[in-house]
Symmetry: C2
Subunit: 222 residues, 2 copies
């Protein structure tokens, strides 16, 4: 049964399912049960079945799921067939890393152009993607009906660029800057790749673990 509003948590698990199914497929498996998936992913079988059931009935009682067709169903749920158009704004180190190594097409996204202020890069192309002047950014966005802006500019200008793109009607921003840009654009879709946030969480968990171990030791020596 299709749910009306699907929770964030569910959405964030879907790409993990997709990757795991790709892996199982590559191994030549063609059948998998929620119990097997649960072991691989560290989730409960219940949760996995609940998650899938948000989008349809992909399995078969007594059998489980067909790896191939479940994989394709999830890919469709995630919009892999939509061919959303993306542009890259800023080709510093992280922008170039994305252009050179990240396969947008594999995930159904079309990276159509990149923009930068660096005159030496303008007019060139990288991995088949042309690099244009930042001055052309807004014209291009409107004319080509860009869906997604991959934001990889310096933090200092991130909000300005984001505001302009939003006012031009862009749907979503994949945000690689260190700055939160969601507020106050409640309609804009923002996905953050906040490196430092992730590292800070990591740091917290190490500290928590160390303190837990220290406390255990203290109790042991009582």
């Amino acid at each position: 049964m299709k749910k009306v509003k699907i929770s964030n948590n569910v959405i964030r698990r879907m790409p993990r399912y997709l990757r795991k199914l790709d892996e199982l497929r590559a191994k030549g498996l063609n059948r998998v049960s929620s119990a097997e998936l649960s072991r691989e992913l560290g989730l409960t079988p219940s949760q996995i079945r609940q998650d899938f059931s948000c989008f349809g009935e992909f399995g078969q009682q007594g059998y489980g799921y067909n790896v191939d067709s479940l994989r394709d169903s999830i890919a469709l749920v995630l919009g892999a067939d939509r061919a959303y158009k993306a542009i890259l704004v800023g080709i510093g180190n992280i922008g170039r890393a994305l252009m050179d190594n990240f396969c947008f097409a594999e995930w159904g996204i079309e990276l159509v152009a990149a923009f930068d202020v660096d005159v030496s890069a303008i007019g060139t192309s990288r991995n088949g993607v042309p690099v244009y002047s930042a001055e052309e950014l807004y014209d291009y966005t409107v004319k080509k009906q860009v869906d997604i802006a991959v934001l990889a500019v310096p933090g200092a200008v991130a909000r300005d660029v984001a505001r302009n793109l939003t006012e031009l009607g862009i749907d979503a921003i994949w945000n690689f800057t260190n700055v939160d840009i969601k507020e106050p654009y409640s309609d804009l879709i923002v996905e953050n790749m906040h490196f430092s946030d992730s590292l800070m969480a990591l740091s917290y968990y190490i500290t928590e673990r160390n303190e837990l171990m220290a406390r255990r030791e203290a109790v042991g020596n009582e």
Copy 2:
């Protein structure tokens, strides 16, 4: 009152508070209330006060929070004073982007070395960080008591490297590969930077929004 076990959601919001407070501090503000923060961050004042109260009493009734001291308290919670030692494994495009542009020190982490199989890079140094041969990786990890491995190797070898590092007693992995490495090491701390997962979520939200708008239009034309 210090809680025993702090939920994941709370931890993930702490770095956002930290960044916002840095921003407010840079603007010269020295006082902020939970209501003001809630407007800036798109959260409820209740939630913000609840989050802070997991770690202590940082505010003052009738006044709010001192920006500086709240910022520092949160930095401590996140372990910014611990100087955890990190190594970078793999200096491909993403690895180099991290070495050149990501300021580990700003977040209290010490990047002490990088490792790669590329002979032309071995022996050089980048941004003050020496690059060693992959053959020295495991010896170094043990000898220097490395806390964190930043994993930026090809997906194909990710699990092997992660397993070896884990068995050598590393605490945490900051995972930039496309592969899940948490299972079956239940003790290992893993923070994932799964680019494709984030992009897939983005793609889903665009599709959801488009479908919602299409449905609205259909109703409007009934």
